[in-house]
Assembly symmetry: C2
Homo-oligomer: 499 residues x 2
């Protein structure tokens, strides 16, 4: 007889009834091939003694096993493992449960090589990191989190409004948030649209994914800047697009180069970040914007306008988004609450002609249906009550101070090793390091000192490493900026000493 006492594990502190635990353990033994087909199980009295539990519990467990079809209880004979259960290969039980060591597994999930260009995922280890220079995130600590939770509470606890936690019938997002966006877009950036021109997305990346899935057939060509936002480039590739590039200078995309491309082949879309190009932070000039719109009409391509940090500008008010001067419906505008409220919301939006929005809604049904509607409504209230407006005013002031301090520190502490321009807006600075400070090495040193910097490598047209990164200044307060720059300075010193 099997040593049931030692191989069946019951937990008396668990919430699961003992008889359910027991029947589950027996199922494990059957499926692992430890108890084989047509084996007779010990009688209930005997099994009870073996395991030190009541006979009644054993009977309940056997009844459960019979009801589920694992055993047959034959009158006056006892309980037998069901004859029709296919026999599993016999494994030592302990080993078989460790699924990740299983040799079969790797060959089974011999993944498609389609995504080989994407960086592999490794769970992060931030245990030694004290400060992070991100690539331009907001400081979520100054965000309206208390107001957000109150607003969420208000949405969820109004009894008649509970249906908001059911599936939404409108895949475009909660109507209150869309209504508020109609006003906000008009007031802050001159975009005049209706409710039907807006869909809420899970951040701007989800927006890009959906847009390019709809827009692109396999091999369709999309033009981006050289250099451009790498994550978006990958999304374009995943959607089957082919990427062509044009140079980016201090006024943004080179449109002469674009027109040459257009004259040679069909271009389906141009991906552009006119307000602050990622990574270099330059602004597309007003005349280029107009020309880009005219090129889109002439060559019939779509403009995907990523306006991720429109709300942050420190000198004059910014040039309006292209979507606001688009009279032909050629612009698909993508905005996000990641910088204005918090990245962790995972909420953004798309503004586009009605029929394109309806296409997006149609595809949403097969991606994630819709977002968290209750949270969308809660954000809607924050707009309605002016909380977002006040928060933006406050954070703009704060981030301007941080930008000034950061650039001053860059100049004073690292000026001999870097070059940069003071950004007129946004939450990041594009910083070139001199050749004798190779960024991958600096990054290693910095991690040793408790500082994390971006690992994204940008290269020029000839494949030469630009040795430049985007450094965000908004998510660290003044004290933290001083300390983080200190650690960066120390890391540069360490690197130089090592030579």
């Amino acid at each position: 007889m099997l040593p049931f006492k030692s191989i069946i594990k019951l937990d008396r502190k668990s919430n699961a009834p003992l008889y359910i635990q027991l029947s589950n353990e027996i199922i494990k033994l059957i499926t692992a091939g430890v108890i084989t087909v047509e084996t007779k199980l010990p009688g209930s009295r005997k099994m009870g003694e073996l395991l030190g539990i009541s006979r009644r519990t054993i009977i309940l467990a056997y009844e459960e096993l019979e009801a589920q079809g694992w055993i047959d209880i034959k009158p006056n004979q006892g309980a037998y493992v069901h004859a029709d259960i296919p026999i599993a290969k016999k494994y030592p039980l302990e080993q078989s449960l460790q699924r990740k060591d299983n040799p079969l597994q790797e060959s089974l999930f011999n993944y498609s090589h389609e995504f080989d260009y994407l960086e592999h995922y490794t769970p992060p280890d931030f245990s030694k990191i004290k400060y992070i220079f991100d690539t331009g995130y907001p400081d979520v600590r100054i965000g309206p989190m208390k107001e957000l939770s109150n607003s969420f509470y208000r949405v969820l606890t109004r009894r008649h409004a509970r249906q908001i936690m059911n599936y939404a019938s409108d895949f475009r997002g909660h109507i209150l948030l869309r209504e508020e966006l109609v006003q906000y877009l008009s007031q802050t950036r001159g975009i005049k649209v209706s409710l039907d021109n807006i869909i809420i997305t899970r951040g701007s990346l989800m927006a890009f994914t959906a847009i390019f899935q709809i827009l692109l057939d396999h091999g369709d060509k999309v033009v981006v800047g050289d250099v451009s936002f790498k994550v978006a480039n990958n999304i374009i590739k995943i959607a089957g697009g082919e990427i062509l590039t044009v140079p980016v200078d201090e006024y943004g995309l080179d449109l002469d180069a674009l027109e040459i491309l257009c004259s040679k082949q069909k271009i389906r879309a141009v991906f552009v970040m006119p307000h602050h190009h990622h990574p270099t932070t330059v602004t597309l000039s007003a005349d280029r914007r107009m020309r880009l719109l005219l090129l889109a009409q002439k060559y019939r391509f779509a403009i995907i306008e990523d306006d991720y940090d429109y709300d942050f500008h420190y000198s004059h008010s910014p040039i309006l988004p292209m979507a606001s001067t688009d009279h032909e419906g050629v612009v698909i505008y993508v905005g996000s609450f990641s910088k204005t409220i918090a990245p962790g919301l995972r909420m953004g939006f798309i503004v586009a002609p009605t029929d394109f929005i309806n296409e997006l809604a149609r595809l949403s049904r097969f991606m994630d249906v819709h977002g968290n509607t209750a949270l969308e409504k809660a954000i809607g209230y924050l707009f309605q009550e002016g909380i977002i407006r006040r928060h933006l005013k406050k954070s703009l002031k704060e981030y301007r101070n941080r930008r000034d301090l950061f650039c001053e520190l860059l100049q004073n502490k690292l000026g001999d090793h870097i070059s940069f321009k003071i950004p007129e807006g946004g939450l990041a600075t594009w910083v070139h390091f001199k050749e004798n400070i190779p960024l991958p090495l600096l990054r290693e040193k910095a991690i040793q000192n408790g500082l994390l910097i971006s690992r994204t490598v940008f290269q020029d047209l000839n494949g030469k490493d630009l040795n430049a990164i985007r450094m965000g200044f908004a998510s660290l307060n003044e004290e933290e900026l001083v300390k983080a720059i200190g650690l960066l300075r120390k890391s540069i010193n360490d690197l130089e000493e090592q030579r």
Copy 2:
């Protein structure tokens, strides 16, 4: 001179300063071609008089326009529209702003026909609907919404924990929720896994999307039941998969038919809902589960196990999921909080071998990065505090009562026109209507009477309409069930009278 007074619209109640409004209006006129290149704008005094606002405001607006590059201010001469701005085609302003009426637009977004098989999106009109027989949703009114909002508040307002609203560094979801899931999966369904085997998704549809994107190369074959969950079928097609079917009988998928398919061609994956098949609600028997696992090992296909409503079973405790008896790592298990908590959460999870989870995390980076981590942590607390367990206990009891009443009503009020089996678990019943009640017509009548029923049409292998639908009973309370069945009876009567 242009009639500036009538074409420039300023809103004195708006939050935007007047000079910004004015400069934006002028930009509109320039980009629409109403004010052409090198045109001289009226002097500040003159313009102020025309518009009835102060000269100071006009000067500020012109300075803004110059800073943005739209005009040049020439000393002692005045303000001129910048010479380099490309001239837009001239449109009457009002018309050009109505983007959706624009004739160019449709031809530009001549969408790929790739998704032609997907139903088009039309914004819903529920204005006349009083009751809905959904396809098996929970009653969100009895959910722990107050506890959820309190928990969310707790997460968001702990100052040191604010970083949770930043981008998460771990794309697999918040660690507390994954830890709680490890326990919950073990206690409720015998699935023993570690933290590294779990990723949180935006509902189970997002899970399917990610899984099939990774698993499938174009043309890879996926087997589903005939009939099966249509939304999942579409997701498989979108990911490039080809669908093959095997019959579904009262014990689930026909595995003889599956083995014949496997012997003829490479099968990449089998999509199965063992607990309650969608739409027919049948349970895959214990012996077939074992055999399916063995077939997966033999023919090396992945099993995608969709376990959307495991927590609801009304007689004996359910057969454990296949993932709990999978010793080879062939099962990718998909669960959801849509039925256990609320669909509006848009939260689900995948359990799979570590390397597959890491592949999913890698792809997430290019879909939506991750979910709302704060909300994930809030749900984690609900598990930790036993709130989910108590909620499930309460709702199980409630839904059993509703099932009993619903089936009794079906039998007593509609018994002459339908056939169905009382479901042993889940939140829906599979109801066949007699041929003289065609469902599309009944649906129309029902809507007229204020009742919405599912419009999904299922067909048998020969393309014949099954004239059957899934009818959910859990989201309506007893009073509502009585009234909704009454409306359905009335709709049948209306249909018969019409003949």
